[in-house]
Amino acid sequence: EAGVAQSPRYKIIEKRQSVAFWCNPISGHATLYWYQQILGQGPKLLIQFQNNGVVDDSQLPKDRFSAERLKGVDSTLKIQPAKLEDSAVYLCASSSLAFGHYEQYFGPGTRLTVT
């Protein structure tokens, strides 16, 4: 089966610019996650979708980050405006069920550098 797809793989922008990341989960997976992973740290959950509804976005900086999952499939994560501290790898993952009982499948990530 095809894995989780993400694009772009790399992005370099200047601070105060905007950027968007795209994720296509594994077919049939109802749950989609966006994580931020800063160099040397573990992934931090930003937002979790169940189909096209938000389950958790408690750690999403809502003044600058937004995410949507239209039709319960693909998802986009946007940052506007970007700050230097947003430099990180943004990982998308999907799983077949929510509630933490099943493994997550991760995409390759998008490495964002904000200068």
Partner: protein, 109 residues
């Protein structure tokens, strides 16, 4: 906030040796998972252990869970150079995962 903390932060061993890394967490959980991350394959799920289980095996991997001490250990036996990676524990109490800080394992050929 990160719930799990892996120990040690870094580990270097010779090929063929066993590697043990530990994860401690703060609150009660439903299950705990271990993931591996390397530059070639990204973040990959290794094994899941539920809160009512004490030990699980998968190939060369052995995971233990001690809920009374809020800790888990991952043992990799007969390590290979390909095991060089960062290893993360991820805990779940309700519906979301919280990842630890990771152990960087280097296996020397």
């Amino acid at each position: 906030s990160q719930q799990g903390e892996e120990d040690p932060q870094a580990l270097s061993i010779q090929e063929g040796e066993n590697a043990t890394m530990n994860c401690s967490y703060k609150t009660s959980i439903n299950n705990l998972q271990w993931y591996r991350q390397n530059s070639g394959r990204g973040l990959v799920h290794l094994i899941l252990i539920r809160s009512n289980e004490r030990e699980k095996h998968s190939g060369r991997l052995r995971v233990t869970l001690d809920t009374s001490k809020k800790s888990s250990s991952l043992l990799i036996t007969a390590s290979r150079a390909a095991d060089t990676a960062s290893y993360f524990c991820a805990t779940s109490r309700t519906y979301k995962y919280i990842f630890g800080t990771g152990t960087r394992l280097k296996v020397l050929a």
